[in-house]
């Protein structure tokens, strides 16, 4: 990667949902970078804020939710990699220009993400017409190419969504996401609710997109096995913050954070002896009142007194991987919690 500037730099992102009982701090200070041409994974239990984080980047948060603070600097222009746009600050019209052309989306509920009363081709055409109007023939050629890339016949364009299977709809969404060759594709749980065969096809398609079209992908999934197979680097989220961040090999071969270790040990090993899986004790905390100190400490078997009193800093280890845990902080008194 000669290009030093990352494609997307998210800093201190906080997304809150207001309620009468107070603010639900669903995403509460996330820093991540996504580089060009990489597949970046976001993993974590349900409710950890991974989907909300990407919805924030896409500016799809609806009231009562709102982006409380933070920046998301996006540098989608290859000819001018220094030029950045803060996705959080763009107004509606500026954001509309960016959407799909530079930043596209493969939705979580792709089963219901297509307009039920429009033909597939019309739904693909309207997105092109709204960003790069061109001749109908050229658009049709692009649509046919996009459908072919995800393994669907061109004739499928004449059908309505209800005439397709779930996996076909998902692949239509993927084909749609690539139509304008965006710099970044956000895939929010694209394989959830699909059976394994279709899952495999979808994953291969996404990998193919990156290889062929040079797009970067943010891949959100709770399924660690899928991450292990697909992504280059990944962040493990817990309770609205990133616990550990590194390459997929580092995370799986040598997890550092106690949470990551527990999470990885809860996956059954294929072909190994059938034994009781380790699970993480306790329940995920509520975003209305995260635990004091480290958010994982009530469930952490390695917790020390400092964990309940001081918020851990994010420590950068040797190879650029980051861990948010007191155990790796050389400057902290583990018994007292003061640096």
């Amino acid at each position: 990667m000669t290009d030093a500037r990352p494609l997307l730099t998210i800093e201190d992102m906080r997304i809150h949902y207001d309620s009468v009982r107070g603010a639900y701090k669903v995403v509460d200070g996330v820093d991540v970078e996504v580089h060009r041409n990489e597949i970046f994974g976001l993993a974590g239990e349900s409710g950890c804020g991974k989907s909300t984080l990407v919805e924030g980047i896409l500016r799809l948060i609806e009231p009562p939710g709102h982006i409380h603070s933070g920046t998301a600097l996006f540098r989608p222009f290859p000819e001018d990699p220094e030029r950045s746009l803060d996705l959080v600050q763009l107004d509606y019209h500026e954001m509309r220009e960016i959407r799909w052309k530079h930043l596209s989306y493969i939705p979580q509920g792709s089963m219901n993400s297509l307009n039920p009363v429009m033909r597939i081709r019309d739904q693909m055409t309207d997105v092109v017409m709204h960003h790069e109007p061109g001749g109908q023939n050229e658009i049709n050629r692009n649509i046919a190419a996009a459908l072919e890339m995800v393994g669907l016949p061109e004739s499928l364009g004449a059908l309505y969504p209800h005439e397709l299977s779930g996996g076909m709809k998902q692949r239509v969404c993927i084909a749609m996401s690539m139509l304008l060759q965006p710099a970044l594709v956000v895939a929010d749980e694209p394989t959830t609710a699909l059976d394994v065969n279709v899952q495999r096809a979808v994953l291969e398609t996404i990998a193919h997109l990156r290889d062929q079209m040079g797009a970067a992908v943010i891949f959100v999934s709770h399924d660690l096995a899928v991450h292990a197979e697909l992504v280059d680097r990944m962040a493990i989220m817990y309770a609205g913050v990133v616990m550990e961040l590194g390459t997929v090999y580092e995370i799986f071969d040598n997890p550092q954070h106690p949470y990551t270790k527990r999470l990885i040990h809860s996956i059954p090993a294929l072909g190994g002896p059938r034994e009781r899986l380790e699970s993480i004790p306790g329940m995920a905390p509520s975003p209305l009142a995260w635990p004091e100190g480290c958010r994982f400490h009530p469930r952490c078997p390695d917790a020390v007194p400092a964990c309940s009193s001081a918020t851990p800093r994010t420590i950068e280890l040797d190879t650029g991987r980051k861990v948010t845990c007191h155990l790796f902080d050389p400057d902290i008194d583990l018994e007292q919690g003061s640096a």
Partner: protein, 339 residues
Amino acid sequence: MKPLVSYVITRALMFLLSIWGAFTLAFFFFHLIPGDPVSAYLQQLEQQFSQTVDAADAAAMAAEMKARLGIDGSLPEQYWRFLGNVFIRFDLGPSFINFPKPALEHILEKLPWTLWLLGTSTIISWILGFVVGGIIGTFRNNFASQFLINFSLVISQIPSYFTALFALFLFGYWFVLLPTKGAYDPSIEKDLLNPRFLLSVARYAIMPAMAVVMVGVAGTLISTRSLVTTILGDDYLQFAHAKGLRRSHILMRYVLRNAMLPQITGLALSLGFVLNGFYLVEIIFNYPGMGSLFLSAIRLLDYNLILGIVLMSITVVLAATFIIDLLLPLIDPRIKLSD
């Protein structure tokens, strides 16, 4: 085309069966009303002209008149005879309110007025209600939308004869702006090619139409708004926003297009009820439509005319649902006809 043919045949048979059933019910229902219209009429004549008629002559006269009206003999006899006349010869027999003018002629005279007044009002109120409901459903958080929806909730519960009285008071009595009774200016020659006549027809229709439209708009507006609110929460709408489509396009092709399908069924049903729902409005404005005719028929217990009007109303309602059933597959791609 085969499923369509068998569908149409089944539905047409059902259609005939429903008309027959409704006819039978109405026939026996109106004959259950106590009283002998012919004798009552003859007595009234005697009083009016202060003459006594020989009892035998009066009885002979009554029998003659009943025979001409087809209401002599036992009830089952009358029923079979009437059924045959109506369904085989399309003959309702003479009317009693204006003996011996055929009942059908009365109906055909009044029908165009009702269709014009109420058909137009129903279509206008549907269009207005749909468009305004769609807009306030999309922008439901501003003051004007909140006001309109609450106002409509109140208006929709007011019976149309009350809004008719209110309009009459306001525009006919307080501000003398509009004619209060009739369907056209009687001083103008009744000629459909005369623009002055047509203008007066429109002017005379304003107030009764207003009474119907006000209530109708409120109903359509409320249901459209709730449909739109549901659609706005659907996945395909979030996806449409993520695609960066223009707002107006999303509103037209994604929101209103989907909200329109159930509302078109509603329009067809209310068009079917045009002959039933607004008799009181017609009577208040002395409009020469089916409402006034039905009132006179009931007053004199004119069986032939009453049954003719009932039959006409039922046929129109059933025809409207029949036609919409055939049209829906053309409008909504998800609906297919099957046996």
